[in-house]
Amino acid sequence: MMLLTLLCVPLFAAIILAFVGDRRYAPEINIAGSAGTFAAGLGLAFEVYLYGPTLAGNKFFFVDAFNVYLAVLTSFVSMTTAVFSRRYMRREREHGRVGSIRMRFYHAMFQVFIFAMLLCLLTNNVGVLWIAMELATLSTVLLVSLYRTPTAIEAAWKYFILCGVGIAQALFGTVLLYFAAEKVLGEGGEALLWTNLSLVSDRLEPTVLSLAFVFLMVGYGTKVGLVPLHNWLPDAHSEGPTPISAVLSGLLLNVALYALVRCKVLVDGATKTHHAGDIMMGFGLLSIIVAAFSLLRQKDIKRMFSYSSIEHMGIATFAFGLGGPIATFGGLLHMLVHSLAKSAIFFTVGHASQMHRTQDMEKIKGLIRGNPLVGWGLMLGVMAIAGMPPFGVFTSEFLILTATIKDAPLLTPFLLLGLVVAFAALFRRVQPMVSGEIPENQKPMTVAHLPVLLHMVLVLLIGLYMPEFLNQWFHTAVDLLK
């Protein structure tokens, strides 16, 4: 029951916000809607913790240990982003970058986007997963072009076209998957349900599924932002409003990776080889290296952190490709901590670029003196994302690295190279931004404290101590993904 509530809340919130429009209290309704979603998410997590995996809505939806934590994460980050966006978007209005109609559109579409992602995570049907993924793209396309500047429109068009093309490949993969499934499970909707497919995956035709996986990999890989399919990502992240960058980077990429991993499990079951894993490892490693070196060349602050997202999604994809209990555990953990740390970074980056009214890193200086929360938030966020102990990202990267040394020792140097270069590139840029005197172009402003603090505390806590329920879910999920 909680499951359906979780899906309905953002949908209703979207409808209400479409009617409320640009009233003074619209951001508060947005927060209330997201908080309701998060409450439902917690309720669902509690149910799963007590009773285990469940099906709902005539087998149309399901939760297990793998998607429950992602659903809670999605609802949590969307709530904190709503809190952040209240101050941020108010400020953008004062600067005259968005008008009344666009604010109405922004709030409604934000909730539709959350709904689409939750539908992706909770649906039991591979076809509906595809539809929801496309809906998530479509709902954010016009948010990326919200400012209507030439570069924003270009970025949104690129996002629309590239993700449209990519996702079309995934649909072809889904058709092939259905073709193989129908032979075993018979015709109709039942043949596309995960819960049925995973039971019979060893009887599915291996040649068809390995062909299907290539298409699914290209399709969902485009949305994950894997190199060489990543071209849309830095543009969309740097040109859209910062709250949207935070949810795109922190949530949408995770959801796409979730879809890919689910497909991999089926393909592995059918082919009984490491074929799909090898493809994922290749894409992952390429993403890590290319993104790490691209980080060095960036001048725009949001662009730089979007390359960092590509790198981290590469790490997670690599981990799932590698397989085995340690790497998979690391991959699951990495999705969680990256999402928390990266959205916290985007919150501080949003405030920093508003204080200086530019995204050019050369012009952003003296953040710690100007606003300690933004300065330290950015500094600590970057430390966390770069994989410094005691933050959670260190734990996950350490696990993945250990598993690599054990199972694929030849790839370890490449992985390490990527991590080290990314580390150096980030610090080289962030150091001058946070230190130094307050420059003339910096204007003081009130910032949203809570989202940044909450995220950073969580990332730190997960690094220090893994709660029992999370540990249990991850172990169950590792078994599922074997």
Partner: protein
């Protein structure tokens, strides 16, 4: 209807779908492109109905009607209106190197036949031979999006790809489950509204629908 006759008619329609795909690949005029797209949708819709009839799958009639209303009537109409409103009836899109584009297209068809060979061997459906054509249509749509510069042409390429996917679903499996087909149709409808809005934004901002003009976002060195 005899199964062999049905299979023959279906292959003939598949050939027509492929032909329209090639036509779109090199058509310069906007209206010409839309007409070709509408024809492709019509062939697809008729083919789906025939498959539905001989295989006794009644949900394919719904898919066929959906294709007819969406891809033969509604989308071409929306595109017509947009082109009229934006006053770009006279605009032509440049096609660089027609023979080369055609050759790549032919190579893609051969590649599709090669790629789908294992699937065709496994299938027992009357429509199995058309799966390669479906994949080729997807690939040619993709090629069209890469080679063309005009926003409207790129969108038509995108929609042609979607036609190919729909065709793949009917030829490999007698159609996806109805809930999926309806969802996909809904997504396309939303996409249609979004690209409609986009055309206006691009046109007012760049004063042209040539996407080459949008090249500000590049990696700086």
């Amino acid at each position: 209807m005899n199964l062999t006759i049905a299979a023959n008619i279906n292959s003939f329609l598949a050939a027509l779908v492929l032909l329209t795909a090639f036509g779109m690949l090199v058509q310069r005029r906007m209206y010409g492109l839309i007409h070709l797209f509408a024809w492709q949708g019509l062939f697809l819709s008729v083919s789906t109905a025939i498959v539905g009839f001989v295989a006794g799958k009644h949900h394919l009639y719904i898919s066929s009607l959906l294709t007819l209303s969406l891809k033969v009537v509604l989308l071409p109409y929306i595109l017509h209106v947009l082109i009229y409103r934006l006053r770009i009836q006279k605009e032509v899109d440049t096609v660089v190197n027609v023979p080369l584009t055609m050759l790549i297209g032919i190579a893609l068809v051969i590649f599709s036949y090669h790629l789908t060979a294992p699937v065709r061997e496994l299938s027992t459906l009357v429509t199995r031979s058309t799966l390669a054509v479906a994949l080729a249509t997807v690939m040619i749509g993709l090629l069209m999006m890469i080679t063309r510069r005009h926003a409207v042409t790129q969108i038509i390429g995108f929609l042609a790809m979607e036609n190919g996917l729909f065709f793949a679903a009917t030829s490999a499996t007698y159609g996806m489950p109805l809930v999926v087909e309806l969802g996909v149709a809904l997504d396309i409808l939303i996409a249609a509204f979004i690209f409609g809005i986009f055309f206006f934004h691009i046109h007012t901002t760049f004063d042209s629908l040539d996407v080459e003009k949008m090249a500000r976002l590049k990696e700086s060195d």
